[in-house]
Amino acid sequence: MRSTALAPARTDERLTGLAGEPPGHRRYRRMRFIRRFEETLLRLFEEGALNGTTHACIGQEADAVAVTEHLAEGDHIFSNHRCHGHYLAHSGDALGLLAEIMGKEAGVCRGVGGSQHICAPGFKSNGVQGGIVPNAAGIALANQLAGNGAVSVVFIGDGTLGEGVVYETLNMAALWKLPLLVVCEDNRWAQSTPVAANLAGDMAARFAAFGVPVREVGSTDVEELSAIAGEEVGAVRAGRGPRVLLIHTYRLCHHSKSDDERPEQEIAERWLVEPLVVHGRRLDAADRARIDDEVETALAEVVATARALP
């Protein structure tokens, strides 16, 4: 099964994985790539080189990398406002994304979409919470009708569980056994609101109650997540209907570019178990340093190229 995570255009294997590199290295590299891309963006914003807004996925890189690994040509990802990691893990297209956020003609959507509205083969995103879930289900229905065995994946956040259309869609997806995988990234916060102030009852039970099996995991370990994601994608692909992969994780940066009012202590603790730390331990220091370097150099080239674009 060929991964869509390596789209032909504008990728750089220093960012997406060197040929023959062990999977563990590749995963680290990809997460590092996403992390550094986001950090670079935040720096560029501060510099005033970008306009609009951005939502960094720092802390959640493992989800994107783990899930996209199991997707194949023909599969489709629908993502949300916090879509950079998903997009980069899927396509590797740092230049297209950066140019997009810079509002340049070379951007994946020619600067029209911006940070939250990305489109590329097998990938779309929209910054309106909730509505992408039925959109992804519609793609799943198309796949079902076509009988092509393709999977439709949609990423949502914990806060998005506030939107009613999510439940309308779970119901219909379950009734119609659609090949839909909902990946819910519970990063404990929705903008300024902690999950406890937004969500009553039990998160996993909400999906189950609509007849959608849920796989729940609290982890920032890309290996663990990848194993589980593989099983979930496989089950959906096998035609057994929709499933939910519920990942409890954490957003390490602020919501968008604005203030972060969360308890410092809480954030500090999460930095100790963030994906790069957790998985990075598995690499020896030299490999890590080399990969970090390669990513850094490649990203610097991307930034330089993007800056020079008209």
Binding site: C109, V112, N126, A137, I139, A142, M172
Partner: protein, 335 residues
């Protein structure tokens, strides 16, 4: 065949001829075949592609969007046009956005069909013509069923293009027979069909040539039928001549035939069943007043329903909704 059946036939033809066509909607499956029976028989013939849905208008629209993004041709039925409100987010922030916001890399040709309109005593939440709120949504075409337009032609146009469209079907048209122009006539009225490139045809109906008419009446859907009756009667009984102009597509508008009629008559009345104020006719009045500045004998008159809830009581409903009497009065004033 009555219009509901013609439309059902059209949908059957679409399902038959185009494997990308998928019908979604509440209670559209057999044996019920939809609240207004338009889809009767279709789920039996096409069980995979004609799907009755839960009562989830938002998801119906949203799933249709996904189907369309994936290359299918979803046709979503809204049982009562009043519930288009629940699709508003999908229409405005998803369906009509995708193509342009993705710089043309995707298309989202969702067709939404909605049963609209009053005069049946269904009361405040089952009688509205809410399409005016969808006019001017960028990249959305709004098309209205009429007895002068063959739904087969209309749907062939929808399916031949990559754009989303809202198709409003006034309930009172369902039991009526289509009256398509035959040999340039609809009943006793001369019928011409004008059509700018890329637009759906606009039908013009009058007892005498436009140049001899005193007023142009611009109307769509069921009020167009009411207006045709008035136009016909006034011509026969009083030799008051008006030209009725009935577009299929009500937004964006093909102004050319309207301008041509209005330039000939020098006077315009617009008629719609939606509530008065920021309505279809407002844009018509705005555009025509500009494009024909100094050439109209009198201001454009916008006839619309009273801007309030539509009562259930027959007499109260009739007092709120535009009917033949208001149309006649407006035509007389405008002559």
């Amino acid at each position: 065949m009555i219009f509901a059946k013609e439309l059902g036939d059209t949908l059957r033809g679409a399902l038959d001829g185009d494997r990308r066509v998928v019908l979604l909607g509440e209670d559209i499956a057999d044996p019920y075949g939809g609240a207004f029976k338009v889809t009767r028989g279709l789920s039996t013939a096409f069980p995979q592609r004609v799907r009755t849905t839960p009562i989830s208008e938002g998801a119906i629209a949203g799933i249709s969007a996904g189907l369309a993004l994936a290359g299918y041709r979803p046709i979503a039925e809204v049982m009562f046009g009043d519930f288009l409100t629940l699709m508003f987010d999908q229409v405005v922030n998803h369906i009509t956005k995708y193509q342009a916001m993705y710089a043309g890399q995707a298309t989202c040709p969702v067709i939404v069909r909605a049963a609209t309109g009053g005069h049946r005593g269904y009361g405040p939440t089952h009688s509205q013509s809410l399409e005016k709120h969808f006019l001017g949504v960028p990249h959305l075409r709004v098309v209205a069923a009429s007895l002068y337009h063959d739904p087969r032609v209309v749907f062939a146009d929808f399916l031949g293009r990559d754009e989303p469209v809202l198709y409003v079907e006034h309930k009172l048209l369902y039991p009526q027979h289509l009256t398509l122009p035959v040999h340039g006539m609809v009943g006793d009225l001369i019928a011409t069909s004008d059509c700018s490139p890329g637009m759906l045809p606009t039908i013009r109906l009058s007892a005498v040539p436009a140049a001899e008419c005193a007023v142009s009446v611009l109307a769509y859907g069921y009020p167009a039928l009411l207006a045709a009756k008035v136009v016909e009667r006034l011509a026969m009984q009083e030799e008051i001549f008006a030209e009725l102009v009935v577009p299929a597509q009500i937004a964006p508008m093909d102004w050319a035939p309207v301008l041509s009629s209005a330039a000939a008559t020098g006077s315009v009345v617009t008629v719609e069943e939606g509530a008065d104020g920021w309505s279809w006719g407002s844009e018509a009045a705005s555009v025509l007043s500009r494009r024909l500045f100094g050439k109209l004998r009198r201001p454009v008159d916008v006839v619309a329903s009273a801007p309030t809830v539509i009562p259930s009581s027959k007499t109260k409903e009739a007092a709120v909704l535009v009917g033949g009497a208001q149309i006649e009065a407006a035509i007389r004033r405008a002559c």
